[in-house]
């Protein structure tokens, strides 16, 4: 039985894991870098050890140092969270060697699913649909035609040696095949000195839909339904929801069964996620497997009523899963918004800094997973995520309204955040109707970045507040400091100061 857990992570996910451990009566050990002494996970844990300088490669990725702390603190298990060492096969292996339980899959499963080609082959063998296409090179028109007819249009012709869009052609009609093939090959030849190409199904209206799975060490595996993660910016998830507005119950059940098959195919144990790409017609294909807890796991917890971290600990302890597939139901609707310290109006530039004020969203149906506090300085070294805001409601429409309400309540000063941008998404027609793909942000950018109307009064009120803020600052500095000073002056704070 696991008696003490070292959490090899920081920020909200470190707290998330420690919360469940505490509820299980298991003491936790925090590790922290130079930049994180004042971080919440250090206070939250029962024990805390410094592991190195701010850059993660010297601290949160330093396997030797983390193992050393685990031994010193007599932690008999390590939870890696997400990011950092969570999908590092060598770390899983090292833990095993040192007699420390790695709360996650074994190294083989991580390796098998970490390599794209191996993962694809494993999935094909397991009967899980993958994006149709050729892995082998194609040089011949007849061969290309045959393949394309098998796959079905539209397809993408891509240079085998390629990258960066060179030697790439989208083919929508059969009569375009010949010219596209020729064009792609000559471009590939010119760019890479190799004119071989391969062909892949082009998904026109892609939806990113993933399935949460849990598998124990005794061969039992279940899925906990899907998460719709198509609201993305530069392949980064922005908002997730469950159930997916796309899926019918029949397709959901089929995808779930494939997700379980995928987990079994790599002898998986622990919590994992099977990512699929789906089109508007609910054709779906395996994309990859994440062999760890996901950022967006709370929406699943909310609609299924399962604490995933506790299940992970129980699995690591060698327990059998406490439920079967038929025991699990989706109830209501959950949405998660990721709150980042970034400036949506300046191309989402990170906005680290000191939190001056927080008003947290509260009340019915709101879950908030965060780690910052008033006076805390968000370090520049790590991910700019401040918190995750999760709402639940009986149905999707109410959940969207609740998220709007919660975002309106959520006030942070000191740093810029994505809150106004997320609030705008809740008002976008395509999101409200649930008819969106991964192109959502791009396709709706005029609406999302537009400035809402404001009458003259509301602008004048802003001017009055600005007057007050500036004169208060003036008052504060008049005695001791010149007025014009660098911004950092305003960050000085009694709080968070090293004593």
């Amino acid at each position: 039985m696991i008696k003490k857990v070292l959490v090899a992570n920081r920020g909200e996910i470190a707290l998330r894991i420690m919360r469940s451990c505490r509820e299980m009566g298991i003491p936790t050990v925090a590790v922290y870098s130079d930049a994180d002494r004042s971080s919440m996970h250090v206070r939250y844990a029962d024990e805390a050890y410094h592991i190195g300088p701010a850059p993660s490669v010297e601290s949160y990725l330093n396997i030797d140092r983390i193992i050393e702390v685990a031994k010193k603190s007599k932690a008999d298990a390590i939870h890696p969270g997400y990011g950092f060492l969570s999908e590092n096969a060598a770390f899983s292996e090292r833990c095993k060697k040192e007699g420390i339980e790695f709360i996650g899959p074994n190294a083989d499963a991580i390796r098998q699913m970490g390599d794209k080609i191996t993962a694809r082959k494993t999935m094909i063998a397991a009967g899980v649909p993958v994006v149709p296409g050729t892995v082998d090179k194609i040089t011949d028109f007849d061969e290309a035609l045959k393949t394309i007819r098998e796959i079905g249009l539209p397809v993408m012709i891509k240079a085998s040696a390629g990258g960066g869009g060179k030697g790439m052609r989208l083919v929508k009609k059969e009569e375009e095949i010949e010219s596209s093939l020729r064009g792609a090959r000559s471009e590939a030849k010119a760019a890479f000195g190799d004119d071989s190409v391969y062909i892949e199904k082009y998904i026109e209206s892609p939806h990113h839909i993933e399935f949460q799975i849990l598998a124990d060490k005794h061969g039992n595996a279940v899925h906990l339904f899907e998460r719709e993660c198509s609201v993305q910016r530069r392949h980064q998830k922005v908002i997730e929801e469950t159930p997916s507005p796309l899926l019918t119950p029949a397709v959901r059940a089929e995808m779930g069964a494939h997700a379980v098959a995928a987990a079994k195919a790599c002898n998986y144990h622990g919590a994992g996620t099977i990512e699929f790409i789906a089109d508007d017609n609910q054709n779906y294909y395996f994309l990859e497997m994440n062999t760890r807890l996901q950022v967006e796991h709370p929406i699943t917890e909310r609609v299924v009523g399962v604490d995933l971290v506790k299940e992970m600990v129980n699995i690591a302890n060698g327990f059998e899963l406490p439920f079967k597939q038929e025991d699990l139901k989706q109830s209501g609707h959950a949405i998660e918004c990721r709150i980042y310290a970034e400036d949506p109006d300046r191309n989402f530039m990170p906005s680290p800094g000191t939190i001056r004020h927080i008003t947290e969203p509260l009340g019915l149906g709101v879950r908030h997973d965060g780690y910052v506090y008033e006076g805390y300085t968000i370090p520049i070294y790590y991910d700019p995520m401040i918190s995750k805001l999760i709402v639940w409601a009986k149905n999707r429409d109410e959940a969207i309204r609740r998220m709007s309400r919660a975002l309106e309540e959520y006030k942070i000063t000191g740093v810029k955040t994505s809150i106004p941008f997320l609030a705008r998404i809740m008002e976008a027609e395509a999101f409200k109707t649930g008819k969106y793909t991964t192109h959502f942000i791009e396709e709706n950018k005029d609406f999302l970045f537009a400035k809402p109307e404001c009458d003259g009064v509301c602008e004048d009120i802003v001017l009055i507040a600005s007057y007050l803020e500036y004169s208060a600052k003036l008052e504060k500095t008049r005695s001791s400091e010149p007025i014009v000073k660098p911004a950092s002056r305003w960050k000085d704070s009694q709080r968070g100061a090293f004593i």
């Binding site: 004020h357 509301c458 009055i464 803020e469």
Partner: protein
């Protein structure tokens, strides 16, 4: 007291006419407002005007004179114009390139790479410096052609926001 404030391009004069407790009378350009104004936290204001409850969050935007002001549905860029600013503005009139080819760090971060050196001729669009913060790298490019006049940081340095990094002239 009276302040000149620029809000999203509009220059307005805000004048305090009187106050009694938290009831303050202001003139904004030609309009007179009596508001009930309260500061409730660091950068958090509650203003009641004719029964309407306005909530404003002031977020520092680089200097004590610059704010981003959020009111749930809107976001405004505000700059308080002081004598110094007016002077600077009048000097740089018609000489836009003067300040625009000065690279200033918009956020705290770490200098990853400086692919130019002092004295280099640079083209418009050429990368001058790469800054990393929060797992994201930002490239800063020359807005117009010129010569690198001075470099104020070195690779590996950690910098605060609003620090002058490179000047091109």
């Amino acid at each position: 007291m009276s302040l000149e404030i620029n809000i999203d391009g509009r220059n307005a004069v805000v004048k305090e006419l009187g106050r009694e407790g938290n009831l303050v009378t202001f003139q904004v350009d030609d309009e007179v407002y009596q508001v009930d104004a309260l500061k409730l936290g660091e950068g958090i204001y509650s203003i009641i005007y004719k029964g309407r409850s306005y909530n404003l969050e002031m977020i520092d935007a680089g200097s004590p004179r610059h704010f981003t002001v959020n009111s749930f549905h809107n976001s405004y860029e505000v700059e308080v114009i002081d004598a110094q600013t007016r002077y600077r503005r009048s000097r740089s009139k018609g000489d836009a390139s003067d300040s625009s080819n000065t690279i200033v760090s918009p956020m705290p971060g770490k200098i990853v790479k400086i692919p130019v050196k002092t004295g280099d001729d640079v083209e418009a669009g050429q990368t001058l410096i790469i800054v990393s913060a929060m797992k994201m790298e930002s490239e800063f490019r020359a807005k117009s052609a010129g010569k690198v006049k001075s470099i104020h940081v070195a690779e590996g340095d950690t910098v605060d926001a609003n620090k002058v990094l490179i000047v091109v002239e």
